[in-house]
Symmetry: C2
Subunit: 130 residues, 2 copies
């Protein structure tokens, strides 16, 4: 498929798809006219890249991490490199910290929103009797 279709299916702008290619995360083939030609499996890959970037993982690390997230039923580890393992543990722990932080903030925001709603309801009520 061409870049436009991939963009639609992944909701990642074409601009970003070209950027990820520049960063070596995906390497589409080229048609004779120079257009990029994307294989089906890249749809999933791109979605995964987006997810990881949204999680705050830099492209450089995503490159090493991606093969570890392809879990076709059974996880097969070809080369249990201890350095890779350490990196994965480090990143996972950072993710866990971020989760805690985000949960704290969502909670605080939810409370504030509820307070706004109460305040709004109160002013509406006081106005009603008029």
């Amino acid at each position: 498929m061409k870049i436009g279709e991939l963009a639609k299916r992944t909701e990642v702008p074409t601009r970003m798809l070209r950027y990820y290619e520049e960063q070596g995360l995906i390497t589409p083939r080229r048609q004779q006219n120079g257009y990029r030609e994307y294989d089906e499996y890249l749809v999933d890959r791109v979605k995964k890249i987006r997810g990881l970037l949204d999680s705050g993982i830099p492209t450089r690390i995503i490159g090493d991490m991606l093969p570890c997230l392809n879990q076709p039923q059974e996880i097969v580890v070809a080369d249990p490199d201890p350095e890779l393992r350490a990196m994965l543990v480090r990143e996972r722990d950072r993710m866990t910290e971020r989760i805690a932080l985000l949960e704290h903030h969502t909670h605080a925001l939810t409370q504030y929103i509820a307070a706004m709603d109460r305040s709004l309801a109160a002013t509406t009520e006081t106005r009603l009797p008029q």
Copy 2:
């Protein structure tokens, strides 16, 4: 306190403290010699700013959001601006999405790490009998 102490206590580099000031998130007073003078309450504020930035909220939004996260016992909403409310809901929902994503990835990574460990244990075992 001076910038260095604040940096130590918040673990935010001085560079960033100056940047947050540039973005209008904090406004320290100045000593006669031009040094920035930070009040005690800014320690908390800076930590909050960091947390929000780590959660992927841009400084521009943090500025509007900060007053909503000061919960001194009871939340008092002065002006229940519906636009502000919408912004807060939007950001909270984005945070919730990020949490789901992060949880998914931490889970995947944990599984992969476990697989690496099993693989490593297996190779160690097969070597043991020798």
